[in-house]
């Protein structure tokens, strides 16, 4: 009893997590008209159709621009805040940390409503700007957690050496700290981009009419019925959000190894 049973159980739990997603990928290559079982053959036709669907291409553009801007702003704010928390002895450190991760502790629906109504009160209507602000605020805590975890591992000696050799704090930051930080910055941006790219809960509240991100586009398409096109779109999304980060991870590891070695 015991170990073999737990092993089988774990395999089943992993199957539960991945089988449905694997079926999405499988069905996206389905040649049959209705995108369901039985599969009649392998085909790329749904991907070709995706590439000709203007609404989906627009959604991709929106999602990518939104994700990139979110990553840029959120990581800038996050890296600065993380530096303060890791490198300095700030009074009220625990309180500040709690404040900074507060956007995770508040349910996203509530955050979405509050931001929408407040900015509307300030006469800022549903817009790309509102969408961007929303995405920045709920990705920021994740960026701070990731960047902080990486920062702790970077030794301070190099910066102190630069400072004692006469470099100004700003020079030290750009020439010593930032290159050492690069993997942390990179990880933070990737994380922010992925979270932004995947978000639907807040996005449905904030997006102006006619603007769709990829998840809200999928959501709108699901209203009709599930089609092989949605499965194909899902497959593309999985490749983007799993394939690219894995690639990024490999690059980051190489960068870190080159620096370390």
């Amino acid at each position: 009893m015991g170990w073999p049973l737990i092993r089988v159980y774990t395999v089943l739990v992993y199957l539960f997590m991945f089988l449905p997603v694997a079926v999405v990928v499988l069905l996206s290559f389905n040649a049959s008209q209705f995108g369901s079982f039985p599969m009649t053959g392998l085909s790329f036709r749904w991907f070709v159709e995706l590439a000709h669907n203007d609404a989906i291409l627009r959604a991709f553009r929106t999602s990518i621009v939104l994700g990139a801007l979110t990553a840029l702003i959120s990581t800038t704010l996050g890296v600065l805040a993380s530096l303060a928390l890791v490198r300095y002895n700030v009074a009220g450190r625990n309180l500040i940390s709690t404040l900074l991760i507060a956007p995770i502790l508040v349910p996203e629906v509530v955050l979405a409503v509050a931001l929408l109504l407040f900015l509307n009160f300030l006469s800022i209507n549903k817009s790309f700007f509102l969408l961007l602000m929303g995405h920045v605020i709920f990705t920021l805590p994740f960026v701070i957690l990731v960047v902080q975890a990486r920062l702790v591992g970077i030794r301070r000696d190099y910066e102190e050496a630069a400072l004692s050799l006469g470099a100004s704090p700003v020079q030290t930051f750009f020439q010593i700290t930032l290159p050492l930080l690069a993997p942390a910055v990179f990880a933070g941006m990737l994380f922010a981009f992925t979270i932004s790219f995947d978000d639907i809960t807040g996005t449905l509240f904030w997006k102006p009419g006619g603007v769709e991100t990829v998840p809200t586009q999928i959501f709108a398409m699901l209203r009709n019925s599930i089609s092989p096109e949605i499965n194909a779109l899902g497959t593309v999304m999985i490749f983007l959000t799993v394939g690219l980060p894995l690639l990024g991870l490999a690059i980051a590891r190489r960068m870190a190894m080159q620096r370390g070695g």
């Binding site: 737990i6 739990v13 449905p20 300095y88 709690t98 507060a102 509530v110 407040f118």
Partner: protein, 288 residues
Amino acid sequence: MSVEARERRQPWILLSPALTAIGLLLFVPLAFIVVYSFWLRTASGADQVGFYLDNWNEALTDPFYRDILFSTLRIAAITTAACAVLGYPAAYFIARSDGNKALLLLLLMLPFWISYIIRTMSWINILGVSGAVNWVLLTLGLTSEPVQMLYNEPTVILGLVHFLLPFMVLNVYVALEGIDVSLEDAACSLGSTRWQAFREVTLPLSLPGLAAGGLLCFVLSAGTYITPLILGGPTDAMYANLVFEAIITQLNWPLGSALSLMLLAVLGTLVLIYNHYLGMGQLMKGLG
């Protein structure tokens, strides 16, 4: 300026952009909807500024809202329990396996990178009228007509468990990883069985991880409105669906504010209780 004074000021300069953003985009808006929830949306669509208790009265006493609040909490509780039952043994296996731990961990992280909406809608391919299960049933001749298995409360829970399970496994794993394996060995050498050793030593020590995972599963499932929209039927609305309806469909923003704050109060109380007994440390370990 002295070196010490500059040293004291620098962290605040670094912190100010992030704190300003969170203040202006989270705390001020939250304070604003508290005020807003006491205003009234008139029939003409304009807001009447003032101090009216109507929205709160409706949110607190209307049986429709109350029932949905209770069913939301029930769904969240069942989801959390299911995640614990499915997740704990898997986390234990990952923590204690020696061979392919790195691969198991990488696989465990993958769902976090796969879009929530795709993971949710993937169940339509499995359980839908033309899904995998129906195809198997039809092929085996177990049914002559496709069976509709979707769009009910169990499928909403299924979707939520599928979405939240990795959070549970990860949190329990982090806790188990921090427990010295030799403790269990010591218990065994003192005469307890492996099961006793697990129950008396490992399980109690891993409870903070289980609690952290449980809190995440509960709060995230109780705050969702997308899963019921995709996998639920017309009567499977959860509390956040009410908020979405009030804000986006009915455009009754003062009522929507009150409903949001109700949800925040209920879930915030849970977070505070958790924080009082266990602190945020374990939760941060699991998230970082």
